[in-house]
């Protein structure tokens, strides 16, 4: 144990990578699933140990291959990315038992092992983006996670999944390339790729070459915004989420966009924010305007969506708006609200997509009109959907209320009364689209095609209920979500110039 302890940061990324390599040699879905499950369950142990070290002992700096930063690649874990690491690894660990039956139903038999291979690669990439302190290394991990995501989406039965995977590939590659252009400009300006080192060297460059620094900031922001599906760069998301295998949708909505949000926060606050006066640029206003557009327009589209998975995908675009709104507010309460919504939304959306996946597992469709009366046949699943759905609305007693409370306080601290009303008003749109589903599921008579529907097997039901319980639990006990988010927000804002 002593020998392993200092190398935990490397193991966090290397274990899923090795797991993926082993799984690539497996033919049978069952053995591939078993290995993926073991690796996934090891991940939260490592990430919790890392977060605990970072919170008690300060920032961890791990030098890959023993090369000193800024020359070598540094893995750097502070409260912010330790927090995201725990989120990604814990949510995937909870969701993993669900995968076996759902994937067995939705992916062809000879492709199931490949699905788990791609999943482990994607997990490796997501954890890698989060843990690394090196800008170019983050790009490589970004592409590892993106390429494996495209394959996960394309492995679905539905031929439209192929088309959505292709469209996502085009958009995702443009986003990643924008990000590389941005860090290329930063490298030309500062001669360094280590994020902390770049931040230190940027201040004198800003005095001389402000325009080039702004160009770098713009390229990185747009590139990462494509990845996190900030409105109006979200066009890839609804189809990709709608046609991917259900479990992949839940995994991606809970982790992939969240990691991209982390990357945006890291660049805006820890790299550019410490070197230049970021408030002098109109970036906050642009982000707030786009967030508001996402909160209203995407939620509004969700109301009229006939496919339940697409509805939740549009709702994701709207909910991401709340997170970026917190980043745009960039005061203590606002940023805390944005960061805590990263966790809360991950829990709620994972629960919702898994509940919908369970319906797809039982009746083979997620079209709203065919779900009439399903609440009587699958009571626990639909109850979980309802609780997590009320979390999206921000009902008191759920985690969603905590995030919206902080966001409203953040807007209030800025003196923007109107924004407080807009936050509440957009939540009511969520009430409409969640309520519409519940009306169909609970109040209508079930049709004959639902005769055999029942709650899914325990391995699928337990993750749904666990995530739903978490959304309620974190609505009351906020020490581990809002508490850490507030610490992180304080550190980020304290570092701003």
């Amino acid at each position: 144990m002593k020998a392993v302890w200092p190398h935990l940061p490397a193991l966090q990324v290397v274990l899923p990578l090795l797991g993926a390599a082993f799984v690539a040699f497996m033919r049978r879905g069952r053995s591939a699933f078993a290995l993926a499950l073991i690796v996934t369950w090891l991940m939260p142990l490592i990430s919790i140990a890392l977060l605990w070290q970072a919170l008690t002992g300060g920032t961890i700096s791990y030098h890959l291959g023993g090369w000193e930063p800024p020359w070598g690649i540094e893995y750097r874990i502070d409260a912010l990315n330790g927090f995201v690491l725990v989120l990604v690894s814990a949510v995937s660990a909870v969701m993993m038992p669900y995968a076996h039956r759902s994937i067995a139903r939705e992916v062809e038999e000879h492709r199931q092992a490949w699905f788990y291979c791609m999943y482990l690669l994607c997990l490796c990439g997501l954890l890698g983006i989060t843990i690394t302190g090196d800008a170019f290394n983050a790009f490589v991990f970004l592409e590892i996670s993106s390429l494996s995501t495209y394959v996960m989406i394309a492995l679905s039965h539905d031929r439209r999944a192929l088309l959505s995977a292709f469209q996502y590939l085009i958009m995702g590659t443009i986003g990643a390339t924008f990000y590389v252009i941005g860090i290329g400009l930063l490298y030309i300006l500062t001669g360094s790729l280590n994020m902390a080192d770049v931040a230190g060297r940027l201040a004198p460059v800003w005095a001389e070459n402000a325009r080039a620094v702004i160009a770098a900031l713009a390229f990185i922001t747009v590139g990462v915004s494509l990845k996190l599906a900030l409105f109006p760069l979200h066009s890839w998301l609804p189809n990709a989420y709608a046609y991917a295998p259900s479990w992949a949708t839940a995994f991606l909505s809970a982790t992939a966009t969240k990691v991209a949000i982390y990357l945006l926060v890291r660049y805006v606050f820890s790299v550019f924010g410490v070197a230049i006066d970021i408030n002098a640029l109109p970036i906050a206003e642009i982000i707030i305007a786009l967030s508001l557009a996402a909160m209203f327009i995407a939620s509004f589209i969700a109301v009229f969506e006939a496919n339940l998975k697409r509805m939740l995908a549009y709702s994701s675009v709207g909910q991401i708006g709340y997170i970026t709104l917190g980043i745009g507010l960039s005061n203590q309460a606002g940023l805390t609200g944005g960061l805590v919504h990263v966790v809360n939304h991950a829990l709620m959306k994972a629960a919702l997509f898994l509940a919908v996946g369970a319906m797809a597992y039982r009746i083979g469709t997620v079209k709203l009109e065919q779900l009439a009366g399903i609440g009587r046949k699958m009571p626990l699943t639909v109850a979980a959907f309802a609780v997590a759905g009320f979390g999206l609305v921000g009902a008191p007693g759920t985690a969603g209320f905590i995030s919206k409370w902080y966001l409203a306080v953040g807007a209030f601290d800025r003196g923007w009364w109107l924004l407080v009303f807009l936050i509440v008003g957009s939540s009511l749109i969520a009430l409409v689209y969640v309520g519409r589903v519940l009306e169909i599921a609970w109040l209508r008579e079930p049709g004959p095609e639902l005769a055999n529907a029942a709650d899914p097997p325990l391995a699928m039901l337990a993750p749904v209920l666990a995530l739903t319980a978490a959304t309620v639990y974190f609505g009351f006990d906020t020490e581990w979500t809002a508490g850490i988010a507030a610490t992180v927000a304080k550190a980020l804002l304290g570092g701003l110039r």
Partner: protein
């Protein structure tokens, strides 16, 4: 006149930006999926140039630790771009594989024809 001179001095960046915009335009304007991928390839290649150019110093050598050599070209951009080329190849390969599957499933690789097929179904 001085602006023109600055542009001529930095002609390499003009080439980079031209390629970048060409690639991006093809991706946006073309409905054929293979052409889209070609555009994406050109777009990515322009970034390789963006990285390689500033690494070159006229008269510079490889970084050899010897008193005879004092001016070095930076080798790091080449290493970075080797990685980026690998990423680009993987993206292109995956993109082409998807196009093959799309062609099998829809019988066409023109985006508007595929959308028409899907809206009928």
């Amino acid at each position: 006149m001085s602006t023109l001179w600055t542009l001529i001095e930095h002609y390499n960046y003009l080439v980079t930006i031209f390629l970048m915009m060409t690639g991006l335009y093809i991706v946006v304007a073309r409905g054929n999926m293979i052409k889209k991928l070609i555009g994406l390839g050109i777009f990515q290649t322009s970034v390789f140039l963006l990285y390689i150019e500033p690494g070159k110093i006229l008269g510079g050598t490889a970084p050899i630790l010897d008193s005879a050599f004092t001016v070095y070209s930076n080798p790091l951009p080449h290493v970075l771009i080797l990685t980026a080329i690998v990423v680009g190849v993987a993206t292109l390969a995956l993109g082409l594989a998807l196009v093959v599957r799309i062609n099998e499933a829809y019988g066409t690789i023109e985006e508007d024809e595929i959308f028409a097929e899907d809206s009928d179904a």
